[in-house]
């Protein structure tokens, strides 16, 4: 009996290759597209998370408060209230911290022997590399010695190197002029990717004191990044920094003219972003599943309707309803599973190939999307392959035979 069932199913699927092929194609496309789309989305989500991670972990960021002139409030961070002495106080007094990286930056015209460019110059300390996850390609990053001696040394980004010396040139030991002051290049950073105004590759790092003495002629810094020893010491460190800065700055502690943000705030922002991403992804997947499901449903409905006469004939020659139902169920299951398996395979391959064509796209195959896509298509296929067949098998054989 089961061999009959199997035989009939194979025969019926093979007997109409175009019909079976189109049905399978519909299922394949719907499943593959859902899997690919979700994997692209998840890849994007992961790359956002990675980028946030690359800012640095256990980071506490101190920025100046708003500039007040009379009753007019300036923007946050606009005031010049943080100074080099604040940085030193934090370095010397705060506990539970492993690094302090102040930052002051401005754009300057830079000249090398023949070329010149306009880029961001950042004055900072040796800890900056660790705080901001900067890796060195050639040479070294700024050291504490450089900071103490206000050395005129610079670490440059790869884009700046390309602009000043040309691609692939070793810039170590070469001299560049920033604001007409000579600096010796001592290091080249590894490319981080990125573009635009705050391009992490188009930048020059010099010691903080050097920046103050030769470029800005002031003691102010635009922000201070502090790395806590661990997640646990973060709160303590933040408390202490607040104490230290208050002692230095102001009489009324409720009117603090600086603000402290830590990584936790960033993580909560990030989880907001990923939440939105997840919602976006689910809606895209949902819509594609719906469209795919309707396609499969159409295919199955037309197929069965087309075969009502065949069902009538089978009944007329005395085949029981149950066997007819079973045959159509088996056919629907087979079609959806063949299509499903091919769809999963194709989606998987597509997810692996897509990043090879476009570097900005990364993909992340998710098992749940595979199960979801497969489950929904199989469900739709089986229900709409079986239900109309069952209806047809319930017709009297004459009605089914006369069906046009």
């Amino acid at each position: 009996m089961f061999s009959d069932l199997f035989n009939e199913t194979i025969w019926s699927l093979m007997g109409n290759k175009v019909r079976s092929g189109l049905t399978i194609l519909g299922i394949v496309i719907s499943i593959a597209s859902v899997i690919t789309m979700v994997s692209i989305g998840q890849g994007a989500q992961k790359s956002i998370e990675d980028r946030i991670q690359s800012i640095g972990s256990n980071l506490i960021m101190i920025s100046p408060g708003a500039q007040k002139s009379g009753i007019l409030m300036g923007g946050q961070g606009g005031a010049q209230t943080l100074t080099v002495s604040d940085v030193e106080a934090i370095q010397n007094e705060a506990q539970g911290i492993s690094g302090v990286a102040p930052e002051v930056s401005n754009r300057y015209q830079i000249t090398a022997k023949e070329n010149n460019t306009n880029t961001r110059v950042v004055g900072t300390s040796s800890d900056y590399a660790e705080v901001r996850n900067i890796e060195i390609d050639l040479g070294t990053f700024l050291s504490d010695q450089h900071a103490k001696k206000s050395s005129k040394v610079a670490v440059i980004g790869p884009t700046t190197r390309n602009d000043l010396f040309g691609e692939g040139i070793d810039p170590l030991g070469k001299v560049i002029k920033i604001n007409n002051v000579d600096f010796e290049v001592i290091g080249l950073t590894v490319s981080k990717g990125g573009s635009g105004f705050n391009n992490a590759d188009d930048v020059i790092y010099i010691p903080l004191n050097t920046f103050g003495h030769f470029l800005s002629n002031s003691e102010y810094v635009s922000s201070i990044n502090v790395v806590a020893e661990s997640q646990d010491t973060m709160f303590l460190a933040q408390e202490q920094i607040t104490e230290i800065l208050r002692r230095h700055k102001i009489e009324d502690p409720t009117k603090a003219n600086f603000s402290i943000t830590n990584q936790t705030d960033i993580i909560s922002t990030a989880s907001d972003i990923t939440g939105t991403m997840t919602l976006l992804l689910s809606s895209i997947a949902g819509i594609s599943l719906l469209v795919g499901g309707i396609g499969i449903m159409n295919m199955m409905l037309t197929t069965v309707t087309e075969r009502t006469r065949e069902i009538g004939l089978r009944k007329a020659v005395g085949i029981k309803k149950a066997y007819i139902n079973l045959q159509f169920l088996t056919e629907a299951v087979m079609l959806t599973f063949i299509g499903g398996a091919m769809g999963v395979f194709l989606g998987w391959i597509a997810s692996l190939i897509i990043p090879k064509f476009s570097e900005s796209l990364s993909t992340e195959i998710s098992l749940s999307s595979i199960f979801l896509a497969f489950g929904v298509s199989a469900g739709v296929g089986v229900v709409f392959g079986f239900y109309p067949a069952r209806r047809a098998a319930n017709l009297s054989p004459i009605e089914a035979l006369r069906y046009e």
């Binding site: 009538g312 007329a316 005395g318 085949i319 029981k320 309803k321 149950a322 035979l401």
Partner: protein, 225 residues
């Protein structure tokens, strides 16, 4: 073998009632070749559906081999059709894109027969119905009308049924092929099969030994040769 008492069939289509069969009673003995003839709308198709256990009468009784058919449920009717009745339809009703042999073996699906037995019987029935041996593996849509009807006859024979019901078997055939098909049916009758033929052509009906004339849902005339 067949005994019908006061068969009545009423079709309801909304408010409209159509009486297709009105109190029809008759008997058909084993080995008979009966033609049921009548114009379209006379009720002959309805009668055939009831005789073929494809449909139940609204009222009345139908005994086939001493079994009351009108009381059976869907599955029991299927079983009865499988074992006792072979159909030959006007439009052949073969499975498209399917070989001749597979078409003939269709009624044997889900029965306790081996594929060897099925093949053997199918070939036997095809030869019996006068089908050329070299066409056995052809697809049904590659056949001529006469060949298709012979395949249909072979299919009707495969379960060795008590009655063969032929519904306008020559309706889609030309005169020459019609004659071949009718002679084949006559031959089957001589070999002991009961044959009931539904037609509206008197020439075709004349192949039978007995002709039942149906008009407006009633038996008008019942003649034997």
């Amino acid at each position: 073998m067949i005994s019908c008492k006061n068969l009545t069939k009423i079709y309801r289509n909304g408010e409209v009632e159509t009486i297709a069969l009105n109190n029809v009673s008759f008997e058909i003995a084993k080995d008979e070749f009966v033609s049921i003839i009548g114009p379209s709308g006379s009720g002959k198709s309805t009668l055939m559906h009831i005789l073929g256990a494809l449909d139940n009468p609204t009222s009345g009784e139908y005994f086939l081999d001493n079994r009351e058919v009108s009381k059976l449920n869907d599955d029991e009717l299927s079983e009865l059709r499988k074992n006792k009745i072979g159909f030959v339809f006007q439009s052949f009703n073969l499975l498209p894109r399917t070989t001749v042999l597979r078409n003939v073996m269709l009624p044997l699906l889900y029965t306790k027969t081996t594929s060897q037995e099925r093949l053997l019987r199918a070939k036997e029935c095809l030869r019996y119905a006068g089908m050329e041996e070299n066409k056995f593996q052809n697809l049904s849509n590659q056949l001529s009308g006469g060949q298709m009807q012979r395949v249909a006859i072979a299919r009707a024979l495969i379960n060795n049924p008590s009655i063969i019901l032929a519904d306008e078997p020559t309706g889609n055939l030309d005169t020459k092929t019609s004659r071949i098909v009718m002679e084949a049916l006559q031959e089957l009758n001589k070999k002991g099969h009961t044959i009931i033929l539904i037609t509206h052509e008197i020439d075709v009906a004349n192949y039978a030994n007995r002709i039942i004339h149906v008009r407006d849902g009633k038996i008008e005339k019942d003649t034997r040769k």
